[in-house]
């Protein structure tokens, strides 16, 4: 199973990262994935209170966040027997429209790929230590106390 997890402190382009990842996978013998399920999450332009959002700040717990992401990914991937797993997550100040998270799962069949992608996304949203603070255009800010509803 191929696993790669990265935290980015500056903007990353999901499709560029994916292109490199797929290229690497294509060169691995017998690692063909007939099914690839992907998810890209981006920052909304609107704050929780409906006002305009200037930026989202993503805090993490250096060390634990990386370890926890790896643990969640390995657990989810082994339950669904998939071939490859790529997780990219932003930290720091993220602007509206920028990608926060990318999850890409390669598997032999669509069912395991889709289920693994979905479950890993939920797992990391609830069990990887990240905290979001909204910065509004009026200069005020507030920490979010949970995730957006599914």
């Amino acid at each position: 199973m191929q696993l790669r997890i990265n935290l980015h402190s500056t903007a990353f382009e999901p499709l560029q990262v994916l292109a490199c990842w797929q290229e690497e996978q294509a060169h691995r013998l017998n690692a063909d994935s007939a099914a690839e399920a992907l998810f890209i999450g981006r920052v909304r332009g609107v704050a929780a209170d409906g006002g305009e959002l200037e930026a989202l700040e993503l805090e993490h717990y250096p060390g634990m966040t990386e370890q926890q992401l790896e643990r969640l990914a390995l657990d989810c991937c082994s339950r669904h027997t998939v071939n490859s797993c790529l997780v990219q997550h932003r930290i720091g100040r993220v602007l509206p429209g920028e990608a926060i998270v990318l999850v890409a799962i390669g598997a032999d069949r669509r069912g395991p790929a889709q289920r693994c992608c979905q479950e890993l996304l939920e797992a990391l949203k609830h069990n990887a230590p990240f905290w979001k603070r909204e910065w509004r255009t009026d200069g005020s800010s507030a920490w979010l106390s949970g995730n957006t509803p599914l």
Binding site: E59, H89, W131, W143, S145
Partner: protein, 85 residues
């Protein structure tokens, strides 16, 4: 077991909890036999948050139970509700 006693633990706070408490990191003396729990420390430190509002803790960067006895040298983190992804 017979090594030198670290004699303290490191306490970390994050995000909103850190800001409400007014500090991010503290070293806290602990006697060499250990035994104090995160729950006991939470009340000792008099945080402004309620403990039942989704606060989780990590000991040495792994999620742990609030009543796990702490050992000298442990890194304890109080984690406000997570919002990742």
């Amino acid at each position: 077991m017979a090594g030198p006693c670290a004699s303290e633990i490191r306490i970390l706070l994050f995000a909103g909890l850190r800001e409400r408490a007014g500090w991010a990191e503290r070293h806290w003396p602990i006697d060499c036999t250990g035994g104090i729990t995160p729950r006991q420390l939470w009340f000792t430190l008099q945080f402004p948050d309620e403990l039942n509002q989704g606060i989780r803790i990590a000991i040495n960067q792994q999620f742990a139970d609030l009543d796990t006895p702490l050992q000298p040298g442990d890194e304890l983190a109080f984690l406000p509700p997570i919002s990742g992804g």
